[in-house]
Point group: C2
Chain length 342, copies 2
């Protein structure tokens, strides 16, 4: 639906007022803060139109107006093309962390979530790559003690994962090397998830594997290539509680309950995995009931063209979307670059 330019400006004015300070926005306030050259009465008429069209709503008769989710959506979509807010401090700070933590993507993601929340004053969320998308580079087996073996997984993305498993104590380090070489050559380049499935299928066949080393290799694989959802880092809960939006105690409880279950966040971020650029989910657009009063801005970071994980911001629907979008976008871009340097 198209709005004429003036109506649009009024809508945006209301939204900006509301983002700056919660509480219904009155016609007089709009005329004061923005110079439309119109009187409150005219603004009132326009606001009345906007309400009829569903972009604004009144909490009760004779109160000011509040943007609806539809109003936000229109605002975000219109603003998308406009120039982004570039925060110098943000770039510098992020760069500093980047240097410091180049070596460890998990530590970096932890820091990045703090950064996101610090800059946006909302909740920062980052997610590390999961088994479905990381591909195996090679595997190393190191005899640890007796029957214990340390398994070191190298992925193409520069992640390392390790695990201790038990094997036949009779296996020598030389045997382990052969097994590792076998697994590496056999599965290199495939995603961990694929490998897991292949191994399960292989073992299900129950044919006796002639080579006992291969058999041992399969046993090790089935122990190592389990599904693992990727870590989620969440920061800024206290940041968000300082907002006047969270004066309601039940709202806080609801939010915390949702946030604490990281699976929910994973699901949510997975949904945007294939999209290009920052995605915005506003309030009721959210597929999850628990989150229908919050908004999410999220983007994926990639390795080459393959999406690896996601970063995002969670806040009230009354969120500074433009700022959030640029922060998320920059962060995702940075991580993408970081992965390509490797």
């Amino acid at each position: 639906m198209m709005l004429d330019e003036r109506t649009k400006q009024v809508l945006f004015a209301v939204i900006q007022c509301y983002i700056n300070a919660p509480g219904p926005v009155g016609s007089r306030v709009v005329t004061k803060k923005f110079s439309f050259g119109l009187s409150p009465a005219t603004i009132r008429n326009i606001m009345s139109d906007l309400e009829e069209m569903g972009y604004l709503q009144q909490p009760h008769t004779s109160a000011g107006r509040v943007p609806t989710d539809i109003g936000y959506r229109y605002y975000v979509d219109s603003m998308r093309s406009e120039k982004r807010l570039i925060n110098k401090d943000f770039l510098l700070e992020l760069n500093r962390k980047l240097e410091l933590l180049k070596k460890d993507i998990n530590a970096f993601l932890d820091e990045a979530s703090k950064m996101l929340s610090y800059l946006s004053h909302y909740i920062g969320v980052t997610m590390s790559p999961n088994t479905g998308i990381t591909t195996l580079d090679r595997i190393e087996l190191i005899k640890y003690r007796n029957d214990k073996v340390a398994v070191i997984l190298f992925t193409d993305e520069g992640l390392i994962r390790n695990r201790i498993i038990s094997v036949d104590a009779a296996l020598s380090q030389r045997d382990l090397n052969r097994i590792a070489a076998y697994i590496s050559s056999h599965f290199s380049g495939r995603t961990l998830e694929e490998i897991r499935k292949m191994v399960v299928k292989e073992l299900a066949r129950e044919t006796v594997l002639c080579d006992s080393l291969v058999e041992e290799a399969m046993r090790i694989c089935s122990a190592v290539f389990s599904v693992s959802p990727g870590n989620v880092y969440i920061s800024g809960l206290s940041e968000v509680l300082a907002l006047p939006d969270f004066c309601d105690i039940d709202r806080i409880k609801e939010l915390l309950k949702t946030i604490e279950d990281k699976h929910i966040i994973v699901k949510l971020l997975d949904k945007i995995a294939d999209a290009d650029g920052p995605q915005v989910i506003i309030g009721s657009e959210n597929p999850l009931d628990e989150m229908k009063t919050f908004s999410i801005v999220a983007a994926t970071y990639k390795e080459g063209s393959r999406p690896m994980g996601a970063v995002g911001i969670i806040g009230p629907t009354r969120m500074n979307y433009l700022q959030a979008i640029s922060i998320v976008d920059l962060t995702a871009t940075y991580i993408t670059e970081m992965l390509s340097y490797k």
Copy 2:
């Protein structure tokens, strides 16, 4: 200070009433719930005495009484020797997790914190061993690509830590093996923290090390043996918000701000590191101002006789201390056992 038996019973009765439901406890309620064979008037007199001695307090004239931190302290110390509540479900559940996660202490600690909060309905906290107490077993260096080397640290506690660092690209895997063997033999058995200090001292001498491999080894060590505080796992925020104690929004904010800064928790748990058995810190006893309205029950888990890390419960001062103590105690004991099986 000694209280005569009857006075003590009344104190405990008040505390138990208060633990079950917050809000001042009146004399009539005490006579109804406990059969002292005394009238409310007598109980009133006793309660008045207890107030004078500092074990109880009145929020305002003509309200019931509320236990003070001193009252709780007396209660906890007296009850210490009594038999512990043993929760069958708890043992079973913990055992199940234990089996599942035997291999990875970090994953286990994560689960354990959830368990602690689930059982106690307060906040569960667990802390993994830090560099100050974990001792090096050996180190492995694996050439990854070009100048990148994966460093795998094995500790005596069965922890593995890995890291990618950059080295001279000319170093072959054979060189790396020699360096790893050198480091392992040189530093094995020392804590990571000790090693870090030794390396710093060594490098500070600035004498040219004749052996270039040794020099390279030192460079690698200084990159790898950095201070790292050990992970903290916190669960049950939403659990605790359901309590009537947290109807005050500022209290929630305060708590979250404290909890979110994990360094604070680390410091707190470190304080109890050398104590034997579960420790209880009640409200104002807490050295940290931010936590003076909360109580903490915590215990260390050990490897042999060396304390490795801590588990604990954070809740309101109106906490079910006996239950919390037994839950914490059991959990710590379990982890200790788990480490000794290894």
